[in-house]
Assembly symmetry: C2
Homo-oligomer: 194 residues x 2
DNA sequence: GTCTATAACGAGATAGAC
DNA sequence: GTCTATCTCGTTATAGAC
């Protein structure tokens, strides 16, 4: 039974892996169950066993993505590095995604926001709120410790950094490289360096 | 005959107006000929008379958008204002779009890039190249005149500004306001102020 | 859990009348 | 230019066998 469950979970995970990449590269309206089916080698009907509909699949996608992202942020928190180094690590999360020719999952969904199922919309908002809350707290803490130059309120700075990184990923896509994102990252680091 | 041509051009323009808004709000993969048809009150077949296929419609969309955008840039050039004021006017182009609950047309298409017809892809790249070329030249010129503080090469600065503005529009969408874009605009103005 | 079969609908596109 | 009619295909989803 443990094995059967493991297979089920394994299949669900494999579906999420493929769907996640497809959404990041093609958008929520740019992929179908047929795409996942062909790549995974099981029928569309079987996909519906694991995820009843595209909306539920979308929710599961963001849920797992947000959990992973939060884990990455916790990793940064526990890093033995100065705040500027941690800020660079934060930027490198985005770089790793773009290097795989992917858009940030929730950045992509933000573009398609008006067409998304209600539950998926809320999950996108929650992701950005969570992301901003962490970055804002990090910037404030680091600034108070004198390890980072922060002008203006931390939540405003956090929103600006997130916007710049998401936008850098977006405009990088047509060119197929990370040049713009690297430029933006350098500027962010300079901006917060004392 | 002049009247007939005027009607034809009028219909084509009306189609472009509706399709442009739909793409900016829902994405290229998030709208259909049926949507335009319903809103304009003519059949899908009639739409195909004016634009043979979705790919051609997409090309026409970007072509008109790029022309209008270029005209806005020329307007800024001829403005009787200091460079910082012109830079603010540039940012306000983006704000006007977002205020109508729209994404930048080419920002939206950049997200969907992998799924676009080849000709549309190239048009998106051309738009960003044109946009960057203007902004880069403007920043360099203004900096040399001492009216603007520019650190690093102008093309790098131009790409960063565009990325920040596009990203600000993107992450603003789920929240339905212009708060993030306004914050980003303020930061850009501060950054280039002497 | 996965399959075959099929339903039900929507999308892009074309032919040909008016 | 716009229409009706039709075609073909893709997409989401369900029923029921194995």
């Amino acid at each position: 039974m443990a094995q059967e469950q493991a297979n089920s979970v394994g299949t669900a995970m494999a579906i999420l892996d493929i769907a996640e990449r497809l959404v990041q590269q093609r958008g929520f309206n740019g992929f179908s169950y047929a795409d996942v089916s062909a790549e995974l080698g099981i029928t569309r009907a079987s996909l519906h066993y694991h995820f009843a509909g595209k909306a539920q699949l979308g929710e599961a996608l963001i849920s797992r993505y947000a959990t992973r992202f939060a884990a990455s942020l916790t990793d940064i928190d526990t890093l033995a590095a100065p705040p500027i180094g941690k800020l660079r690590s934060y930027c490198e999360i985005y770089r790793g995604v773009l290097a795989e020719h992917r858009m940030c999952l929730c950045g992509m969904l933000a573009a398609e926001f008006d067409t998304l199922p209600g539950a998926v919309r809320q999950a996108v908002i929650n992701f950005f709120d969570q992301n901003q809350a962490w970055l804002s707290a990090f910037l404030e803490r680091s600034s108070e410790a004198g390890a980072l130059r922060l002008v203006g309120p931390p939540d405003r700075a956090a929103r600006t950094v997130i916007a710049a990184l998401e936008g850098a990923m977006l405009v990088s896509r047509p060119y197929g490289d990370t040049a713009v994102l690297d430029s933006v990252t350098d500027r962010i680091i300079e901006e917060f360096s004392a």
